[in-house]
Symmetry: C2
Subunit: 137 residues, 2 copies
């Protein structure tokens, strides 16, 4: 990582990239605030709390972070960022955004995901459901 990147990318996002690339579950737990909320592309009701947020993000690592996954663009605000990603799962192109909000301690308090197109949402939903079920077993 270049010095210029290190100074311009917010600390929470720098950590998120490290955690996502390594699928680092301990690092993920350290990065999430206790009151973290996950908002899925599929369901309106927010998933409230660090445990359930970590669970969804861990499942997403398995479903989305394959060899095709890459972040293609990023936009930064004072305490939030949008990361646009692309991947291919089951031969279907997936395009989405992670909208990440952090607190004064650079811990993630809100993680919202949107996905397009519709075909990708339906496919990711099925994979997420199967992965979350397998994690519970």
């Amino acid at each position: 990582m270049s010095a210029s990147t290190a100074t311009t990318v917010p600390a929470a996002i720098r950590r998120w990239h490290e955690v996502a690339e390594a699928r680092d579950i301990a690092g993920l737990n350290a990065l999430l605030a206790d009151e973290a909320v996950f908002q899925s592309p599929v369901v309106h009701t927010p998933q409230v709390g660090k445990a359930i947020t970590a669970r969804y993000l861990t499942a997403a690592f398995q479903v989305l972070n394959n060899g095709h996954f890459r972040y293609r663009n990023e936009w930064f605000g004072p305490n939030s960022a949008v990361l646009e990603f692309e991947t291919v799962v089951d031969g279907i192109e997936v395009n989405g955004v992670d909208i990440i909000t952090w607190d004064a301690s650079d811990r993630i308090v809100n993680f919202k995901v949107m996905i397009r197109p519709l075909k990708a949402i339906n496919m990711v939903f099925e994979h997420m459901r199967a992965t979350l079920t397998a994690m519970s077993a």
Copy 2:
């Protein structure tokens, strides 16, 4: 609009807000580059060209820009921005992003939309289809 807003909001986004608030179709056409591309929440294939992009955005004004519509957050990059919106249509809460890219003349070259949750996508898709059909009649 305050002076500070006027200096920090990119010109293309300032114009987009004016056009969207007024549902100004002539203004929309002036803001779109000839090679503008629209990327829908539903379909993977991009809609290429100013005419079809204007058509989709005009339909979206009718479907989404009702009394409930508001932009709740914005992130700006050098030649692109993400605008997160919320609205309510048919009693269903719609949350989405407009990802807007502009050229050196501040004309919009790419307009991508993502929507969550799934229920909202399906409902907006039906309304968009009906509105586009009515516009063709």
